[in-house]
């Protein structure tokens, strides 16, 4: 490697490191803030580092007194069911729309696209009426149902399904395989990255879901993490920043872990669908 080239690489890395540090600073502040007391956070001028890193009082408060264990359990259930149901139904729908020509399939796909355009807030009150009619108020099922099959997930699966060669499916059909066998045995293994993308998108959506779970829940036993965090961080005419930041870490951690493991699929999914 020539000296000039090496210098250019070094400069590039220095610039990238600088930008990375700037981007990461707020997250670091959140992380440090989670170990601070309200007084430390409000103090002027504030210090970057907490006085005591072993101060876990904020985390202890969240889990021991503010029901964060319950909220986390609810969030995990909501997200697990949302991801599973979206992956199953959107891949079925995507396969049918792309590979099984039927009368009106274009219209169905058009309707799904149209559903993506409707702001979620416009559906809010009618959706709540439906949930009330179903008797699902204050249940996790009531929280999950409206996002059990997201139009965006169907769209992604349909786009991916399009790229699966028809010849493969035809060959299987000639060999006498049924549609479900083809779907599970041939189609699904080929669309792994799409499944990962749908899983990540629906997980993020359901994990960060705020207003709807709040409306459906009638007591704190049914709150999910974001709702619980909003409640726990309230202080008298103020905000308890220590609890808010510690709670943010708790909410963020599973997302971060998921992203680290599935990063490869996520990038590939984005590249293929052109969606972020």
């Amino acid at each position: 490697m020539s000296g000039k080239h090496r210098l250019r690489t070094a400069l590039l890395y220095a610039a990238l490191t600088l930008v990375a540090v700037i981007v990461l600073l707020p997250f670091v502040w959140v992380l440090f803030g989670a170990f601070k007391t309200q007084g430390e956070i409000m103090a002027a001028p504030g210090a970057w580092l907490p006085q005591d890193f072993s101060n876990l009082a904020n985390f202890a408060e969240l889990f021991e007194r503010r029901q964060f264990g319950t909220y986390m359990g609810n969030s995990l259930i909501v997200s697990a069911f949302t991801v599973a149901s979206n992956v199953l139904f959107s891949s079925l729908a995507g396969y049918a729309l792309a590979k099984l020509p039927f009368k009106g399939s274009k219209l169905v796909f058009g309707c799904i696209l149209a559903a993506m355009m409707i702001p979620y807030i416009a559906l809010f009150v009618p959706q709540f009426f439906i949930i009330v009619q179903f008797g699902l108020v204050n249940t996790l099922a009531g929280i999950i149902l409206p996002i059990a099959v997201m139009p965006i997930a169907v769209f992604i699966m349909r786009q991916f399904a399009d790229s699966v060669p028809d010849e493969l499916l035809e060959a299987a059909r000639l060999d006498g395989a049924g549609e479900f066998r083809i779907f599970f045995g041939i189609f699904l293994p080929l669309v792994g990255p799409a499944i990962a993308t749908v899983a990540i998108i629906t997980f993020l959506n359901s994990w960060n879901y705020f207003l709807w779970p709040l409306i459906v829940a009638q007591d704190q036993g049914t709150y999910t993490l974001p709702v619980g965090l909003a409640v726990a961080s309230q202080a008298a005419r103020s905000i308890d920043y220590g609890l808010l930041l510690a709670g943010a870490i708790v909410v963020l951690l599973p997302v971060l872990i998921l992203f680290l493991f599935l990063q490869k699929y996520f990038v590939r999914g984005v590249a293929v669908t052109g969606l972020k």
Binding site: R66, L214, V231, I239
Partner: protein, 422 residues
Amino acid sequence: MSTNRVARRAVLVGASALAVSLGLAATVHAETIDDAPASGVLQVWIGGAEGEKLPSFLADFEKANPELKVEITQIPSDQFDAKLLTAIAAGTVPDLVRLYSQSQASLMATGAFAPVPEGLVKAEDFFPGAYATSVKGGVAYGVPMDAYATMFQYRKDLADKAGLAAPKTWDEMKAFAKAMQGQGATWGLGMDIGYDIYNAQGLNEYVHQNGGGFLSADGTQWTINSDANVAALDYWGSFFKEGLASPDGPKFLDTVPWFTSNEIAGKDIGPWFEQWLVDANGRDWVNANLATAIMPAGPAGSVSALGSGSLAVLKDGKNQTAAWKLVRYLSQPETQVGWYKYFGSLPAVKAAWDDPAIAGNGLLNAQREALQTAVDVPQVSTWNQVGTYLGQQMELVARGQATAKQVLDDVQAFAEGAGVGN
């Protein structure tokens, strides 16, 4: 505007429209409530940190009412109205809620609340502004639980150095701000600069100090661009024009570092400011450096912005009787003092202020005086829209991009389009 706030507004508008279209008209029927212990299940929704503390505070009440189970659900205060409006529209309401005076008019417009039973409380026991907030057409639909008024809070140490007492008039406030800058403060005062609905709430006190008001006396017409209001906004804007206040800060909790590090030397702010400063700087710093006074008087006197929380019972709730019994309990002076000691909310009941726990805190003297004349925001259901727009437009005055007259003419036209609701 954040997504949450957009979402909240959309839900508010949608749910209000639904509730109104369902024809939930108020029927005035006030029964009396006996003294027997309450029973059954009582569902309470409450926003803010109050919901965290209230369950343990009610231990005595539950002991006195052994057959009663109180279920308290804590709601994020930002979304409280959205949640309650949706519940009202769908008929899934709790028995008792605590409403915020700033936004309760749009909730009251649904007609979902029961009138306060005769003889439950006496109107004259409460600060008049706080009680009036829940009165509609001569009927009370809520009982104040807590109240606060804004005060002029300033750096006592800097004022002492300048040899100044708290300013008592609009002119003195100007002179005070200039003198504070002479003592090393970057800006003499911090003015409200959130440019949101709270900014409009702040202007409401200045217009009343000048004998104006946003609504006509009968509450049916907007009078936003009246001469008195224009003069009041002019006065507010002059602090920026004369370099006595910054149009960029402080905004909210950053008031604490701005106030501590001489960026500002005074602010029109609520009684919670003392505790914020204690949290950040300690009690000794507060004792040495913080003083409070009533708002400097304009031509029409000293007027503060009022905020209050009222307890209201839903007429579709399943246990109204128990709900009113809890309201009565929370309105007793001794309960109000207990709640102040336990949580810090200031009592809406006047007699509670005689207790040494409150009377002994010198910083609260100004608060008590301010509460006598403090004014609430206009109690009409369109205040959310009008106040938000007014707050946004005030930025033009703060930055010298429009005159007070231009801005208020524009907001008046906007408000006439929105109407006063129902």
